[in-house]
Symmetry: C2
Subunit: 203 residues, 2 copies
């Protein structure tokens, strides 16, 4: 059974907040405190965490370190390797941002077709020519790809990398990719996002 | 009544596809063709468009130019001015990307607190010191802001710009902003997005 997307989003969010609190030396937390730091209700948090067989105590709340370990077990994508295709301004900014701030995942390989963007290292991410994708993806067991290619090639590139074993795509190209149902696609069209916020700013 | 977010997202998506078809010289489209280019069903598209008092003909479908004009009327955020706060790698990449590809909106002002990032022009966007935000926002009638500041200052900056009249925030800082209910916030935490896709790639 595919767990609900919303729930996975919430749990990833809890983990991010908890990791930060743990780093600041906080040992325990109550569901209502975690609620104030996320956008979930205390009842929802208790339900989500119960499923992970983590129990808080009425007197001290949850032990943060235990909670993080339970979430890591549950999510099971600790130290996930991710690739990015398209090393323009946006692609490079995403590599710098993700590799500079995430502990749970790392963009380990970047791909482009322009010779001057290939065979470099940006924030710990090595770049290759796109024609090497299948070889590298199999060697490094890459299942997740961030797509920051121009819109006119996005569908073709997506189809190619799926043949190479990719199962999930975070797509920043402003196009609706048409892919098999067993491939997970999250579209993050930035311009549509700005347009939507602009709309609700005025209404 | 606040129109449903999902519907606004769909309509923005239709417009993007239609503008591209119009530019390629296509005069008409049927709902099933628009459906194949978006992720909405033909029935949903017909319902969405009916509300805009745009009617297609059974023989020729919708006239694309009329449809774009109706959507622009309906959405009413043609040539919207947007500001961005935080001119690091991500902020600059977003300016280049949005101003290089969108016809409907433009990031006209950027803000930062580092002197070397102030008083420059990137892709048609002038940059100012953050202390000038209120003055510029009032002068340029800016209601929508993209936030790409470090997480530790995001909440404070958000509260400040709301005092200056901002109504909508597209937030790329990995934090849940706590803001009044009349402010529209869309969170786009990139790391959480990658973690979510990585999770579903494995499950």
């Amino acid at each position: 059974m595919r767990r609900s997307e919303k729930k996975i989003e919430r749990i990833i969010n809890y983990r991010r907040v908890l990791v930060k609190l743990d780093r600041n030396g906080q040992p325990n937390i109550f569901s209502h405190q975690l609620s104030a730091l996320t956008n979930a209700t205390p009842a929802q948090i208790r339900r989500d965490l119960m499923e992970m067989e983590t129990t808080g105590s009425p007197a001290h709340g949850y032990v943060i370190k235990e909670l993080i370990a339970s979430i890591n077990d549950y999510i099971g994508v600790d130290k996930e390797k991710v690739a990015i295709i398209g090393l323009g301004n946006l692609g490079k900014a995403i590599i710098n941002y993700v590799n500079g701030s995430s502990e749970n995942l790392k963009i380990t390989a970047g791909f482009d077709i322009q010779p001057e963007k290939v065979d470099r290292v940006v924030a710990g991410c090595h770049s290759y020519h796109l024609r090497e994708f299948e070889k590298i993806a199999k060697k490094e067991n890459i299942k997740t790809v961030i797509l920051t290619v121009p819109v006119r090639v996005a569908q073709d590139v997506a189809e190619e990398i799926i043949k190479a074993g990719v199962k999930g795509i975070l797509n920043y190209a402003p196009i609706n990719l048409h892919l098999p149902d067993n491939i997970y696609v999250e579209n993050r069209d930035m311009i549509a996002a700005v347009e939507k916020v602009a709309y609700f700013s005025e209404h």
